[in-house]
Amino acid sequence: MTALEFQGVRVRLGRRRHAADVVKGVDLTVPAGTVVGLVGESGCGKSTLARAAVGLVPLAAGRITPGSGVQLVFQDPYSSLDPRMTVGSAVAEAVPKGAGVDRAGEVARLLDLVGLEPGHAGRLPRHLSGGQRQRVAIARALAARPRVVIADEITSALDVSVQGMVLNLVRELQRELGLTMLFISHNLAVVRYVSDRVAVMNRGRIVESGPVDDVLSAPRDPYTRTLLESVPRLR
């Protein structure tokens, strides 16, 4: 596993007069084998940052390493799987090409890893529940043998009882495989649960970052404080 590093990353979106800096100079490191949670509200640039890391949007400035071998798991499992492709072929497509690769075996191993049965390989996404789809998306990301995984709001399209299962899976996989992971969410409680460190993003900038407990118990930035105060709490 490798660390994920953003150095002075700027991303400009839109054309000509509509163009605006969405990410305005981000420095962030995800140390190898750890989970960094990235929180922020919609429009703060966190999803754009994720898309930049996998090359879906071009950088205006800065550097992201590694330049390849980064996989992204998307928010909505209903749209991130090709509706015409079986689970098996979706995962198999991601397995790196090479001599002596047992694709079928690899697909079975990955499905087992994310808690799906081998029989699921022949099914189409529409026959799966939201939670199962998200498991497939995770298996597909892992199939590419990534050096870094980015999870972009992977539980926010799911029901709360399913969300728990996916979060448990993410934690298990991360520990078993020693994954380097950038975990993006608008939900502070979810980020707190899966992350070792947390970074808070606002208006295209990282305003605060540090170990989860430090940042959440003693926030230094006023925005982080507002965010924490806004979280609805039961107790």
């Binding site: 054309r15 605006a20 969405v22 509200e41 919609s42 429009g43 928010q75 909505d76 991130s80 709001e153």
Partner: protein, 346 residues
Amino acid sequence: MAVPTPHHPAPPGDPVEEQAPPEERSSRPARPGAYLARRFLRFLLSLLLLVTATFGMVHVVPGDPVRAALGITASPELVAARTHELGLDLPVWEQYARYAAGLFSGDLGTSMISGLPVSQTIADRLPYTVMLALVAFAVVMVTAIPAGMAAAAWTRGGRGRAAELLFTGASGLLAVVPEFLLAVAMIVLFAVTWELLPVANVSGSLTPSYYVLPTLALAVGPAAALARIVRVEALSVLSSDFMRTARAKRLPARLIYLRHALPNLLTGALTIGGLLISGLVAGSVLVENVFVWPGLGSALVEAIKAKDYPVVQGVVLVYGGAVLLVNLAVDVALGRLDPRSTIKED
């Protein structure tokens, strides 16, 4: 562009979703000026394409166009003289320049057959075609929008099954039957069998009764098509969230339909209406031929058959230009009616 949320995912892959913080992004200036300028530029490009296409048309015709127009009996001297007269012996770029320059001064060339200026022919014929198209368009708009809305109101939520079948069946049939077949059927029924209405008048003066059959033949199909679209649009508007809000406010039906539904329908209807006019322009070519209408359409077909290329060029320019103008007008109107439409990138 919705704010991405747990239960209402924003259109994925739309990178613009994160352009600015939500509270700031709120009032994005529509900048009507920029939109109009962009739209006008597109109009000019289309016009350029049209001019180039009509010019190029003559040059890709296999064989010698002058020889084709004058026939095989014409002497080589005559062909050479006419070729020179038309400037067809010049280099292509020079011909193009002369052609374009001629357009600016209203000179569309002269007919190879009659020797009359093409602009003269067009000026004589155009008013008849314009009248025909305008009357037909008015008929379409006045009948289709109320019919479509009424059908939607009656057949919502699986009510009025019989009415729905009748409406979709009848409008579907009418929308499919092409105008020239309808014209033939109308002639057979109203002119030949019942002798109610006149058909063709070669002698000139057109009284209103001569308009009935051609306009009907031209209008019925588009009206049926538009009514169908208005119904579908109305159904989707009626089941939208903001209509639920309007009902939650317990507003009277009159306000719900006229104030809340209609404006949201008009944008769709207008877009289709613009397309319909383009269709009317093309359809008029056929209808004019069926009814021996002294308009541009008959002239076009006669010219094509006679291989009278300058006339074909001129008439196609007029038709194409008219379509482009209508599209431009519709887009400008849309921009005024629905401020959101100007934001869309084309």
